[in-house]
């Protein structure tokens, strides 16, 4: 465990973090240990985001630093190690809407809170949500939308999950742009989340927490 690496990553010292990563790997530190440090740093980043010390710029830079470190580590890893059992969550921006900012922040926060996030991207048709829920046995679905047209897409997605006989097994949250409690009611979802932290607490409440967190 390198406290220094955790500190560099969490404090947004990109160059220092990358240099130290190379140094550690060259010195024979196990690559998984480096990745564990990154995970610890991401937890800190997430906590600072929750406390409103960090905002989107830090979140995005943290993601970039993580990407660069992972690229450095990859050649040192032989065979993939599976992550611990995490609770699957399906996330996506509903059909007809291509906005991804809010959805991406929710994905990031769910991920660092230990959920196994299946990000379906944007403009996702209802059937794709249904298939993913079936495939992953996810018990939480998060529907994002920015435009007013997303109100109907959300409703259709919830209906499709219902029609597939999966509704009883999942809790569904909605959020983003023009979405509010009224939309959750209209779409027959289970809850509205105003921000990424709300998404995390809803997911935790519905699943009784998660393996890592």
């Amino acid at each position: 465990m390198s406290d220094q690496l955790i500190k560099y990553v969490a404090n947004m010292q990109e160059k220092e973090a990358l240099a130290l990563t190379k140094e550690l790997l060259e010195a024979g530190v196990p690559p998984m240990e480096v990745l564990d440090d990154c995970r610890a740093a991401m937890d800190l980043v997430g906590k600072r985001f929750e406390k409103q010390e960090y905002f989107i710029p830090e979140l995005i830079l943290a993601g970039e630093i993580l990407k660069s470190i992972t690229a450095e580590v990859r050649p040192y890893i032989e065979g993939e190690e599976e992550a611990a059992d995490a609770i699957p969550v399906v996330v996506g921006t509903v059909e007809g809407d291509i906005h991804d900012i809010g959805k991406d922040v929710v994905v990031f926060m769910l991920d660092i809170n230990g959920f196994e996030v299946h990000d379906l991207g944007v403009d996702v048709p209802p059937q794709v949500f249904v298939d993913k829920v079936e495939e992953t046995a996810a018990s939480v679905v998060a529907l994002s939308g920015f435009l007013t047209l997303s109100f109907d897409s959300m409703k259709e997605t919830v209906e499709a999950i219902e029609a597939a006989g999966l509704r009883d097994g999942v809790r569904i949250m909605v959020g983003g742009g023009a979405v509010d409690e009224g939309v959750s009611e209209y779409a027959a979802a289970d809850a509205y989340g105003g921000d990424a932290m709300a998404a995390v607490s809803l997911a935790k409440k519905w699943t009784g927490g998660n393996e890592r967190g």
């Binding site: 947004m12 990109e14 409103q52 010390e53 960090y54 905002f55 989107i56 710029p57 830090e58 995005i60 830079l61 970039e64 007809g96 809407d97 291509i98 900012i101 435009l147 007013t148 047209l149 109100f151 109907d152 023009a178 979405v179 509010d180 409690e181 009224g182 939309v183 009611e185 209209y186 921000d195």
Partner: protein, 422 residues
């Protein structure tokens, strides 16, 4: 001729004058005879008339007839159809917009598809000569049909006067010629759109409806200018962290040249407003510290300079601004207006009610999924609390009423007249 009891029997000329006065009073922070009602109908017009979104975009006559029918039916003080049209974008192969019936299904809704057209490594070139960079680097990246402009010689060569004319054959290269031709075609299409706007304005005025109060120069907060059509969300957020000084320098260019544009636009058209849709300054995107450095000072300078030239900036405060309303309270009183999408509208009234006209208040979700009672109650509360003392234009929070329940829209219009009287 109006149907509603308050306006029954008034001529269209009188209705036009009264509506115009009502809107102007509210914008000037004064108290009109009643709270003006603004409906940014958008695609609701297509739903109202049973046509597709694509038809509404591509068929001016149909769209205009629906706008007229809708306006006469619901009798708002101001009404807006679609705020932009695909013509020039389609001619130029615009890579940042998606349109119903083209890249989207017939009933899809217009979307802005953000790209990183400017890379982080482009800052030095951008700062060195933004206009040259715009034409020779940005346009080929952003518009498929303007790809040929990348073969043009640097524009400063024109300062070589006579001696540059020997280089003119470079303009004859086939890709350059194709791009020039595409630009010429786009200009013709844009002229047709502009003629439609003129015709629409005249026809609406003849029916008693004033030109949209949002008409004016369309510009952006310098930060958003660098973000929306240049660096994209991911890029701009990384710039805050990785190259803050370059971002700030670029914002100064975006400030200077947009002001230059807005002032000459207003001079040429006689319009006295600038519409500034704000995107990345709301709560949640950046910290207050970052806001104070990268967003607010540049936007404030833009707005203050406009007001000094008697131009009223009307900002669309997208998202939630609850944590930063105090900054807005610093703006010159009665010289700007704010359309609030999702901020706590009552808090907005408390903090900036003495500073600017407030536009908004009605939740789109309520018009879609509410009840007559809930819509009436919300309208009443808005009239009483936000409308108190004037300076309020009732509107939906989102500038688009797609999917609204027409009976609830009717309820809203009637309630606004009933409860909006001063």
């Amino acid at each position: 001729m109006a149907k509603n009891p308050l306006d029954k029997g008034k001529s269209n000329e009188k209705l036009l004058a009264e509506r115009q006065q009502r809107l102007n009073d509210a914008l000037q922070l004064e108290q009109p005879d009643r709270v003006p009602l603004f409906m940014p109908a958008g695609y609701l017009l297509a739903e109202y008339g049973g046509v597709t979104h694509a038809e509404q975009h591509h068929d001016f006559d149909t769209a205009q007839e629906l706008l007229e029918e809708f306006a006469l039916d619901f009798e708002p003080d101001s009404v807006l159809g679609l705020f932009n049209n695909p013509g020039p974008s389609l001619v130029l192969g615009d890579r940042m917009t998606k349109w119903p019936g083209k890249q989207l299904p017939e009933n899809g809704s217009f979307q802005f598809d953000e790209h990183e057209f400017m890379k982080a490594e482009d800052y030095d070139d951008f700062l060195d000569d933004p206009s040259d960079w715009a034409i020779r680097t940005y346009l080929p990246r952003a518009f498929e049909k303007l790809d040929g402009f990348k073969f043009l010689p640097p524009f400063i060569m024109w300062c070589f006067g006579h001696y540059h004319l020997g280089n003119l054959p470079m303009y004859a290269a086939p890709p350059v010629q194709e791009s020039l031709e595409a630009l010429g075609n786009a200009i013709q299409v844009a002229l047709k759109d502009a003629a439609h706007i003129g015709e629409s304005t005249e026809r609406m005025a003849a029916l008693g409806f004033p030109p949209t109060f949002l008409a004016g120069a369309l510009i952006e907060a310098p930060f958003d200018f660098m973000s929306d059509t240049l660096r994209g969300m991911r890029g701009i957020m990384l710039d805050i962290m990785r190259c803050p000084e370059k971002l700030l320098a670029a914002e100064q260019k975006a400030l200077k040249y947009q002001l230059d544009f807005a002032l000459s636009f207003c001079q040429a058209t006689g319009l006295k407003r600038a519409f500034i849709p704000l995107h990345r300054g709301s709560d949640g995107f950046m910290s207050l510290e970052q806001f104070e450095r990268f967003y607010w000072p540049q936007l404030k300078e833009m707005m203050v300079t406009l007001t000094e030239h008697d131009i009223m900036p009307i900002c669309f405060y997208e998202g939630v601004w609850d944590q930063r309303l105090e900054y807005l309270a610093d703006l010159p009183k009665g010289k700007t207006a704010g359309w609030f999408q999702r901020s706590d509208i009552f808090k907005v009234k408390d903090v900036v009610g003495d500073t600017m006209c407030i536009i908004g208040g009605m939740k789109n979700s309520l018009l879609k999924n509410g009840t007559v009672e809930k819509v009436r109650a919300r309208t009443k509360e808005l009239c009483e609390r936000v409308g108190e003392g004037g300076g309020f234009i009732m509107s939906t929070g989102v500038g688009e009423m797609e999917g609204s329940d027409l009976e609830l829209v009717r309820t809203w219009a009637e309630a606004a007249r009933e409860f909006g009287a001063y």
